[in-house]
Amino acid sequence: MNRTIAEKDFKLSKKAMARKDWRKNWQIYLLFLPLAVYFIIFNYIPMVGILVAFEDYSVTKGFFGSPWVGFANFRVLFTGDEFLIALRNTACMAVLNLALGFLPPIILALLFSECHLKPYRRFTQIVSYMPNFVSAVVVCALVTEFFGMSGAITKILTAIGFQEQNWLANTQIPVFWLIYAFIGIWMGAGFGSVIYTAIISSVSGDLKEAAALDGANRWQRIRYVVLPALLPLCMMNLTLSVGTMFLAGWDKVLLLYMPKTYDVSDVLYTYTYRMAFGNSVNFGLSTASGLFQSIIGTTLLIVSNKINKKLTSYGLF
């Protein structure tokens, strides 16, 4: 099962390789064509909009007519008083989200697969998807409730010896970051497990039976049959999550943070939001901030792919 993509046995010249590749795979490339067209039309052409990051953009003058300002938008962004704090918070929260949020869906999928009472499994599975369907606004309102003064979770924390307080107003590191990571898990772990369930189920039947016949116990089955099958997907997911961890989901911070906790809760998204969306919208600033995060993300993606490739040989590209 363990296969690497790198084909080292090719020792032909480049040209011959290309010809051979074309002869063998021209159908594949033909199939790729319509997909490429789709992505070029709906994703690549609109990327013209990224120009806005370098412009003093005015909607009426358009992408090519607005005055070019070079890196002025970035300069405004990077020289703001709270930029460094926002950058630090973004980085720490993204890493924490990834570190804490990566495993729960996998564990949950394993638990589901090991639950043999079918109706019970189905019920818990469906219920665990639910938070995914409830809007972030409602979830954040409940979080405010639970972690607020005399909220349910606050009470539990008080019972184990913490001081009673509104935890969302706590400015100690890493309280806010942990709460934020917790929300991510709460909302996403259940539905995130679906994808792993699909893989686990596909290896379960016969292979697991075979392993069971060999006298393997539950843990050995998971360790030697299920996990190896999951590994490629996990690795791919990890690489992608590292790349996109800066990009999505920050709107929840906007619902949870307060000026009192800016020192720990302000992230690039909210920082830009305050700067760019006042009475009028500053497209230049918001696009510049988005581009900055995209570039960081892409760099991380490439690096993590490299590392992955080295360590586990499951490289994406």
Partner: protein, 286 residues
Amino acid sequence: MMSTGDIIGDAVIMLILLLVAFISFIPLWHVVMSSFSDGQELLSHKGVVWKPLGDFNLGGYKLIFRNSNVIKSYLNTLLYVVGGTGLGLVMNVVAGYILSRRTRFRPLMILFFIITTMFSGGTIPTYIVIRALGMTGTPLALIIPGCTNAMFILYMMNAYMAIDRSYEEAAAIDGAGHIQIMFQVLLPQAKGMAIVVAVQTAILKWNSWFEASIYVPTQRSLWPLQLWVRELTTNTTEFLKSSNPDYNQYLIQYAVIVIATVPLLAAMPLFISKLEKGIASGGVKG
């Protein structure tokens, strides 16, 4: 045949799952119970709503459904979900296959897709493209764009690559072409992932409202359900400015979540059984 260890293990697993289910259950339960509550009592309530506050009340739902467009929007959403998911499925299946082949340009093609998740150009240029295609103001603008993304394609790729090569090699020896291998040999085995990705596409389409608000802003008869949800919940406490406030207005924000989520959740058992069946037929039988 089960050992005591296994039984204890099973019990522990079931217990953990129960806890997970309970925690996951809270937000939606809170919303459902709030939507059946008395609006004024709800306003003065602090904490999770475990059972309807005051008398059982359908006032919020009545306010929503007095607008006949809301009912029609279910059909619109269905059209967009089915259309988008269908198109997306074909694209995911094909693209995943392409990327799972050992071709010279594979890494480049993967990069081609991944870049689209990292960079995007914003609303206005996308609008200009879609207008150039003549799709603005039509349902096409809500079906065709955004029915797949790099993540989904990579998931499909992964599923194909997890399949034992011997199947396709055997098929190739029999003289099967790419299309045949893809649809007849590999897809049945990667069906589980295809379903998972299709469901995720469907959920994306079901939940999307922004596209509709930009591409069909004034064609209210084309609005999907979620755009009505937005429209109905933009200002949830505005009614208190009226001299004779109707507290049922406060329930709308909860009731819309219920009407927009319940159909999806109702479809979930179907999805899970499809998933299980798909995997069973994929499995080893081929």
